[in-house]
Amino acid sequence: MKHLLTYIFIVVGSIVNAQNTAIGTSEKLTFSASYNMSGLLTEIAQVTMETSSVKTSNATLLKLKCSAATYSSFDNYFKIRDLYESYVSPTTLIPFLYKRDINEGSYYKFEQYKFNHKVNTVNSNMKKRKSEQNKTVKIGNNTRDIVSTIYNIRNIDIEKMTTGSSQNFTFLFDNEELIISLKYLRKESINTNLGKMECYKFAIGLKNDDALKGTSENLLWLTADDNKLPVYAKFKIAVGTGELKLKSATGLKN
């Protein structure tokens, strides 16, 4: 449960070094995360993904934000207030600064990565309630953070992927490089809160981590249009299975 929302984010994540064609500068996607037991769905939290532009003295960056907050009925039992931010290049979505601030029950953690893409390193600062750690982590050429990964997945040229083909992507999480595998399954029409939509269906797996269980039980549906909205995701983790459904989408680019 402690990392439930983190795993939810992982489910919709991968990386490509492509131009941004799908994400606008004032986009807001609202999801409902549910826990599934024997087919009985219990809505647990609201997950929001927002973009906005951020100006510094010499550049304008795109801020990608993912936040998660439990519904009021759960706040007395297990309150979650998570905030993930990534400041990226608006065209390539290459991250420069990543922040993660998680409050889950009594668990607190803050993490900050400053990316140096010239020497492929990340200056990491990690804080917990009683400890702090600063570290320089060596990363690969295509290693990003989890938030830019989530957004980058929408810039994949899916039409060029064949059924059964997969891509591996790398992201830094808890100072460790994780590899996520994204396998294209097929096109499928599904009912969503935005109506019936044709979608690309993917199977997702983590190669060097066991956060996501099963081989074909972690699924993601992206709309088969230029926005490639993540409308629906199913995931299996240690504490059970869950779903992520898109409730509303505003400020879309296309």
Binding site: M37, L40, T42, T56, A59, L61, S72, F74, L83, H117
Partner: protein, 125 residues
Amino acid sequence: MRRLFIILGFIASILAVILSVTPFSKIAFIPAVVAAIFGLIAFYISRQKQYPKKSIQLIFLLTVISLTITTYKAVFTVVEVGNVEGLQLKEKESEENAIEELEGLDLEDVKTDDTQELKELDSLR
């Protein structure tokens, strides 16, 4: 056998009542149905052998209570996000700090092309 079903019925019905008052109230349907089945079996055995049925009635009572609470919550409870003021304040503060942090980073790559592109994106809105 009757005693076994009564014990199992009690356990299931108490679990159903406990679950029905938690946010996972929908899950209470499962032990409630199980309790009702055990209760019916125990009731059938008791009726055949002319045993008292007071304890079985209690199982049904607990089951009905849990089903009532669960159904009420499923129908009338509005799903809404709790207080996120703290999160919004934290976000604002985090962005201010991030801008300071970004000033110290090498953003040479995004100075020109990306800024231009972002202006174009903004103009499309």
